[in-house]
């Protein structure tokens, strides 16, 4: 449905999208994931035909977005970031206008507008002026607009930005619902968002596509990324024990102020009298998911046999940073410390 090859967009000296290639098949719900300023919005704008690429090509339903822009735009329903709408129009007026603009035949217009309003859940505000709507409803009007002409492809830029938790839940359910009839591409910088909606994830960072995969892979990667343990005892001894276990990649002290390096043992204090330290143990990338339970037991046993008091153990769910670290050689700090440059 969507075929993008070697897509590049430059703004003067700044490269917003850098040689990005990917494909999206029929019926997929694909999440574009990346920190702010990664190039998500730019890529989606190119797909929507609003922006032209500097080089490379993008095809929507086998139509080139530049050469056959008109036909490509007929196959796509696009909701831009922040959902710009005409404030002075009523919801139903706006959707009728959009349907006519998108060449929905006159006979089918009223019905398709009703259907879109029903699917997006805006029937109860159909006769309200758009500037009197709440953010959640505006977002849904944007979605109704994207689907009103029944395009095969729906592109949603940050569909849940600025919504409250309840609205986010509803929006995600709606997007999953859309996935039954449309190919959906959405962008977000929240990992749990793609997990909730998308079947596949494209990870974009600094304009480059750094990784892609099924959402279930990303979820597994994230959920089994490591364990968090509360352990009481001498810090040096803890580190020694943990480093002797081959499946442990890194150990990080949570709540420890200052540098992440373990503090030097103070000879004056009795180690067992100190409060337990919270540690995050990250498994080595090569560790198969099935072995994580066994390895957890091994860590606990090793710590206990060294005379250290293990108070608490639970699997740590990784963050976007961990996934980034796992998928790319790039360090998570540099990946997420990008300035917010949204052209």
């Amino acid at each position: 449905m969507i075929r993008v090859s070697h897509l590049t967009k430059r703004y003067g000296g700044h490269v917003a999208v850098d040689d990005v290639s990917f494909e999206v098949g029929r019926g997929e719900v694909v999440g574009f994931l990346g920190p702010n300023g990664a190039g998500k919005t730019t890529t989606l704008r190119i797909l929507a035909g609003v922006l032209g690429p500097t080089s490379g090509t993008a095809h929507i339903a086998n139509r080139d977005v530049v050469e056959e822009s008109f036909e490509a735009r007929r196959s796509i329903g696009y909701m831009p970031e922040a959902v710009p709408l005409y404030p002075e129009m009523r919801v139903v007026e706006y959707l009728r206008f959009r349907a006519e603009l998108k060449r929905v035949p006159r006979a089918a217009r009223a019905r398709q507008v009703d259907e879109a309003m029903q699917k997006a859940g805006v029937l109860d505000v159909a006769h309200k002026r758009i500037d009197h709507l709440s953010k959640g409803y505006r977002q849904r009007v944007g979605i109704a607009d994207a689907i009103v002409a029944k395009p095969p492809i729906v592109v949603l830029d940050e569909p849940t930005a600025g919504l409250d938790p309840n609205q986010i839940r509803q929006a995600r359910a709606l997007i999953r619902e859309l996935g039954r009839e449309h190919t959906v591409v959405l962008s977000t910088h929240i990992l749990s968002e793609v997990e909730a909606c998308a079947t596949r994830v494209l990870l974009i960072h600094r304009g480059k596509l750094v990784a892609q995969g099924a959402t279930s892979d990303i979820r597994a990667m994230r959920q089994g990324a490591g364990i968090e343990i509360s352990v009481r005892g001498d810090a040096g001894a803890v580190d020694k024990v943990l480093q002797s276990i081959p499946s442990v990649a890194t150990v990080e002290r949570l709540e420890a102020p200052g540098p992440a390096t373990p503090p030097v043992t103070r000879p004056d204090a009795n180690p067992m009298a100190r409060p337990p330290a919270r540690l995050r143990v990250v498994w080595a990338g090569a560790l198969p998911a099935g072995d994580r339970g066994i390895e957890t037991e091994r860590v606990v046993a090793a710590l206990a046999s060294a005379g250290l008091g293990v108070r608490e153990v639970h699997p740590a769910s990784g963050s976007l940073e961990d996934v980034f670290a796992a998928l790319t050689s790039d360090s998570p700090e540099s990946a997420l410390a990008e300035p917010n440059v949204t052209p």
Binding site: A48, L51, G52, M79, E81, A82, M89
Partner: protein, 249 residues
């Protein structure tokens, strides 16, 4: 071009659903009504009518009131066209639909031009009133309205263009007013430059004042039509190119 019609309708809707259009029309009709009253009053109290000056030619030509209202009305009419859509981001939604840049520009232009015509329509009543009191040259009246239409169409095209070149409605207003006023003042140069010099020719050629005097006395000069044709087409062409350029920005 099939997208012309929905955009045209929406533009008119957006204009008339806000108080701005009504405020502009009211101001326009009050000014024109007073102007007409003063003219008729003036001619009624004149003992002997000299020359070929008629209330009609005085209403459309030889008066600064006409241009004053145009300078005040055209910039606020066109300022929103593109500047507002770009500021609020709706331009992205609009351009993601299967529309052509030319259709968008023409639809927005046609909408303001329609509003402009609607503003002038009630003034035909003045002519009907004049026609009841004495003979009225309806062909001269038609020529005068052609002049009003051409001048307005040219001014609105400049306004639309200014609105496409900036995101700020205020800047669009100021730019439009500056260009129109500059052109008017250049036209006034006709009266201060010596006859026979190139400057005088240029000033006379662009003088709205002179153009409207001609149109108001029933003279339809093809040079004027070409001038205003260019004043309509050139800004609209630039606007279309600007809309295209956003895609590559």
């Amino acid at each position: 071009m099939r997208s012309f019609w929905p955009i045209y309708k929406r533009e008119l809707f957006a204009f008339f659903v806000t108080p701005l259009a009504w405020a502009l029309i009211v101001v326009f009709l009050i000014v024109q009504g007073m102007h007409f009253f003063l003219l008729v009053d003036h001619f009624a109290h004149q003992a002997d009518v000299t020359g070929d000056e008629t209330p009609l030619s005085a209403f459309f030509g030889n008066t600064v009131v006409l241009y004053l209202v145009l300078f005040l009305l055209v910039p606020p009419m066109t300022m929103r066209s593109f500047a507002e859509e770009r500021r609020s981001g709706t331009i992205a939604t609009l351009m993601s639909a299967p529309v052509s840049s030319a259709a968008v520009v023409l639809a927005k232009y046609a909408a303001v031009l329609t509003t402009y015509v609607a503003m002038w329509l009630p003034t035909i009543l003045y002519l009907v009133i004049l026609g009841r009191t004495g003979p009225l040259d309806w062909r001269a009246a038609a020529s005068a309205y052609l002049g009003v239409l051409l001048v307005g169409a040219g001014y609105l095209a400049v306004g639309i263009c200014a609105s496409a070149l900036t995101r700020s409605q205020l800047l669009a207003t100021i730019w439009t007013a500056l260009v129109l006023l500059g052109l008017f003042i250049l036209g006034l140069g006709e009266f201060v430059t010596r006859e026979g010099t190139a400057m005088h020719e240029v000033c006379a050629h662009v003088s709205v004042w002179g153009h409207m005097n001609d149109f108001a006395s029933g003279i339809v000069d093809t040079r004027r039509i070409v001038f205003y044709g260019a004043m309509i087409l050139l800004p609209l062409f630039i606007t279309t190119r600007a809309v295209e350029a956003w895609r590559w920005g």
